[in-house]
Structure formats: C-alpha cells, structure tokens
Amino acid sequence: MLLETRKLSKNFGGLQVLSHLDISLPEGQLTSIIGPNGAGKTTLFNVITGRFPPSSGQVFFTGKDISGLKAHVISQMGLVRSFQITNVFTFLTVRENVRLACQSRLAQKVSLVKPAASFGLEEKTGDILARIGLLPRQDKLAGELSHGDQRHLEIAMTLATNPKLLLLDEPTSGMSPAETGETIDLIQEISKTVTLLLIEHDMNLVMNISQKIIVLDYGNKIAEGTPEEVERDPEVRRVYLGEA
C-alpha cells in the first residue's frame, strides 16, 4: 500500500470532521474521493499532507508513519498536493513558479553558495511547461493567467516535484467544459506514472476516469469500490439523491 490511514480522526473544537477513516491506496491507482459539501474531503487532504495533525489515528506513506509530521517533510517524501483555491506565486512568472517547484527536489535546494542559475533547472522546467501546455505563456505573471491556466499551473508545480502520490483538490473547479476536457486528458496522462488521489465534484469525470471511488459523508467512509459498484450502492444513492 502506498498510502494507508488507520482510524484517522480529526476534530476542530467540538466539531468532528473526520471519523475513524480507514483508507488504503495501492500504487499506480487513480482514486477519487467524493461526497457532499462538508464531508471532510479537503480536511482529509490537509491531515494527510501535514497541514493539520490528526486528532487520533495514523497515516502511513510507503509504510512509514507520517502522522503529525510537518508539511515540508511529507512533501519531500513524495506526497504532494494541489490546492482547491489556486495557491501559486502571483508575482512570479509561470516559468519561475515551475522552476521553484523543480528546485525543491534538489539536494542543495536552499544552498547559499552556488548561484541558482548554475543548477541546470531550466531544462526540466521547460519540459514540464511543455507537458502542461503552458510554454507559450511562461513569461506571464502567474496572477495574470486565466483561471483554467492557473489550475493547470497548480498541477504543473506538483508534477515538478516528482511525486509518488499526488493529491489533486478539485482540479477542474471553475473550469469551462473545454478546459475540463483538457484537464481530464492531462490527469489521465499523469496517472500513467503517478498514483493519484482526486477530490472532485464533477460526477462524469469521476465515473469516467477513476479506478476506485471512495465516498465520504460527515467524515465517515460510507462506500468504496469501482465506479459501477459505487453507483449502485444504496447508501450513496441516499446521500446524493435522497432516496430512502
């Protein structure tokens, strides 16, 4: 198992957001997490990636216990996330954004000694920009990009860190159908080499590309399985469609 959570719980004050979640993600799989608003999906990401420590329970990544570790440590282990609300460096150019992400994986990532230009990051930066399709806009300030391009930049930056497991938080939020289509292609291409965990609201997307779906409601896992299995699950139908 690449990622495993055991009885993972998180509460804020009196509010229980995650309850005893057991999740296992094998390597190479594309999994989606769905659930109504407030189900705890983003909180799950936050706890896994070290933004908040768990209230109880554990998180294992490549067999190691990462519960409560700091965010930058977890990131260095290969567990990387994108953000639901675009979180890029608005006053740096697109190229500089991606380059900074590439820099994060160098051994001398915060070296004071050698000039930054000597690290040969330009080639890798160019490759990623080309792969995501942002090469023509590489000299624009990230804050000036269209919404869809900014979401793609988010993904580009996560890719630049050579992740083993990539957590994408609503990658297509706010996108037009055309942009969504592009993003789906991108995700499917990435999934060939990277294990993916998605939070998504777009049901078509989820049903089409996921190999496994996990359904959360009020911090509990109420269903898990292939898209077909989840579609037929009565609990899921109740939560989403209100059927008795």
């Binding site: 700091k70 930058h72 460096f89 900074l100 915060v110």
Partner: protein, 329 residues
C-alpha cells in the same frame, strides 16, 4: 535593460551604457573622491560617506530580511547596537584591533540572532514587528542603565582602531577606504545570497509562505538564516561605527534608529539591494543637511517623505526610476 549593441555615438547609447555600468561608475567615483577634492570640503564629506557606508551595511542585511523575505523587523537597532558596544568594550579592554572587535561583534550578533530569531520567527507581520521591537527595547533599557558602559552617558575613551599591516586605521581617509571596502564585500555577498537557490526560496516565502512549505522547503529554517544574516550585517556595521566614533551611547539601540532603518529601506526600494543603499545615502545626506538648522525636528521632514512615499511610491526610488524609464521606452 541595455540592448545587445551599444551605439556609442547616439544619446540613447550613452544612457544605456551609463545605466548598465552605473554601479561601477559610482564605485570608481567613490574610490577617487578622497584623492581629488580639497581637504576642507572633503573632510565633511568623508565623514558623511563613512556613515553612509556603515549604515549601508545595516541596510543590506535588513533588505535581505525584509525586502526579500518579507519580515519587518522593527528592532534592528539591537544588532547594530550590539556590534557597537561589543566592539567598544573589546577595543577598550582587550585589544584595539578592529578584527577583534569585528570577530566579537559577529559572534555576539550571530548568537543573539539565533536565539532572538528562533523566538521571533514563529510570528509574522505585525506580531513579528512588535516582538523585535520589544527585544530591542530590552537592549536599550539594559545598556541605558549598565554602569560599566557608562549607562545613559555612554562609553568614551575607545582607542583608535588598528588593522595591522602598518596601516593607520585612525586616519579618516584610511577608514573611508576600509569601510568602503567592507561595503563592497558586503554587497557582493548579499548579491550572491539573493541570486542563490536560497534567495529564490526567500522571495517565494514572502509571496506565498504556505505554498513554499508544501513544495517541501523548510520555511522556519530559511527565515532563521535570513534573520541571522541580517543580524550579522548589523553587527559588522556597529563594529565599524564604534571604531570610527571612539564613543558609543545607548542611542545606538534607540527604536528611532530601527525606524530610520525601515524608512531607508522603503525610500530606496525594498528588495533590490541597491535601493536601500540609495535610501541610506539619501536619508543620511538629507539629515545632515537639514539638521544643521532644524536640529532633531528634521525628522518631521523625513516622516513626511516617508508618508508620501508610502502613498505614492511604496517601491521607493528604485520603483520610481523604473517607472520613469519604462515610460520613456
């Protein structure tokens, strides 16, 4: 920036040439200055420039922390003051060698920077400013009442510094070149730091600290390093100050000095390294010029300039120049 070919014949060509090599031109001028001007006039200006060089060093370190890293330290006088007092004490009681003073200042400020930095780095923005302010007030109040260093009257009788090699550092012109040399070295180091991988991360932290952390960078450690660098710059500058003045008083720890440092950085242009040097020169020259007839109340003018800059050109003189030259092209 200057285009590839410089047409030396045309006006634009000359301007571009000047812009590209302006730093070197200024440096050459500064080197030649004491040798050329008459002794009566130059005596005053030599003093002025020495002070500009000394405070320029403080600003270089400060700009790394605030201009690039985004942390507004409202207590930077504490490192300048520590450098000054440590040097004064060492020179008076141990050895007049400036290197001893400098070594002591660097050690003291590095230690202080580590401890105080570690405590303060967990806070940001206003809270960081308040914390650094409070710590610097500790230093001020302490040295203002410590009888060993003369309390509020300050410490006099510091011997003229020696630098070895048979050079008389007590000579003002020699000290001019010494401090200019230190500034040049300091600038070179600062420029190198800012262009390094670390420098890039620092800029990223200022813009989006969370993202930097999630990319895998240890934010706390980076900020601590920036704080440490700025504290050491302050200490070295303080050392030079004590060596030059032969007298130190608690004024070196005064919060007004911390405020002036912030003002010099903003007026010059934060986050450019050159800007703060320009800002330092501007403020010190203006201060000298105005205080001869306004005394302390020239600070009113400085405050007004500060307010105007914040309202109309928060990126300082450098930003203003950039906008003017862009409008020309």
């Amino acid at each position: 920036m200057a285009s590839g070919r410089v047409d030396q014949g045309s006006m634009m060509g000359w301007l571009a040439f000047l812009k590209k090599y302006s730093g070197w031109i200024v440096l050459v001028c500064l080197i030649l200055f004491p040798l050329s001007a008459g002794t009566l006039v130059s005596g005053f200006y030599i003093s002025l420039f020495i002070r500009i060089f000394i405070f320029g060093l403080v600003l270089l370190g400060f700009d790394i922390l605030m201009g690039y890293g985004g942390l507004a330290s409202f207590g930077h006088a504490m490192f300048f003051g520590t450098g000054a007092y440590v040097t004064a004490i060492l020179m008076k009681y141990v050895s007049p060698s400036i290197w001893v003073g400098m070594g002591g200042s660097i050690v003291a400020c590095a230690l202080g920077g580590l401890v105080i930095g570690y405590l303060c780095i967990r806070s940001r923005g206003l809270y960081f400013a308040f914390l650094t302010f409070a710590f610097s007030q500790f230093f001020f109040l302490f040295f203002n009442s410590w009888s060993f260093v003369g309390a509020a009257d300050g410490m006099a009788g510091i011997p003229k510094p020696t630098v070895g090699f048979g050079i008389d550092l007590g000579n003002r012109i020699v000290f001019y070149y010494f401090s200019l040399g230190m500034l040049v070295v300091g600038y070179g180091v600062a420029r190198h730091v800012v262009n390094s991988a670390f420098g890039r991360v620092l800029v990223g932290i200022r813009q989006n600290e969370e993202r930097i952390a999630f990319l895998g960078f240890n934010v706390q450690r980076c900020m601590l390093v920036a704080f440490l660098l700025s504290s050491i710059y302050g200490g070295v500058a303080g050392c030079l100050f004590a060596g030059y003045q032969s007298f130190v008083s608690p004024a070196v720890y005064h919060w007004g000095l911390s405020g002036e440092i912030m003002i010099m950085d903003l007026l010059g242009g934060m986050g450019t390294l050159i800007g703060p040097l320009i800002g330092t020169a501007f403020v010190i020259y203006l201060g000298d010029f105005l205080s001869s007839w306004m005394h302390e109340t020239w600070l009113m003018v400085l405050g007004a300039l500060y307010v105007i800059a914040i309202l109309f050109s928060p990126d300082g003189i450098m930003g203003l120049m950039k906008r003017i030259t862009h409008r020309g092209t």
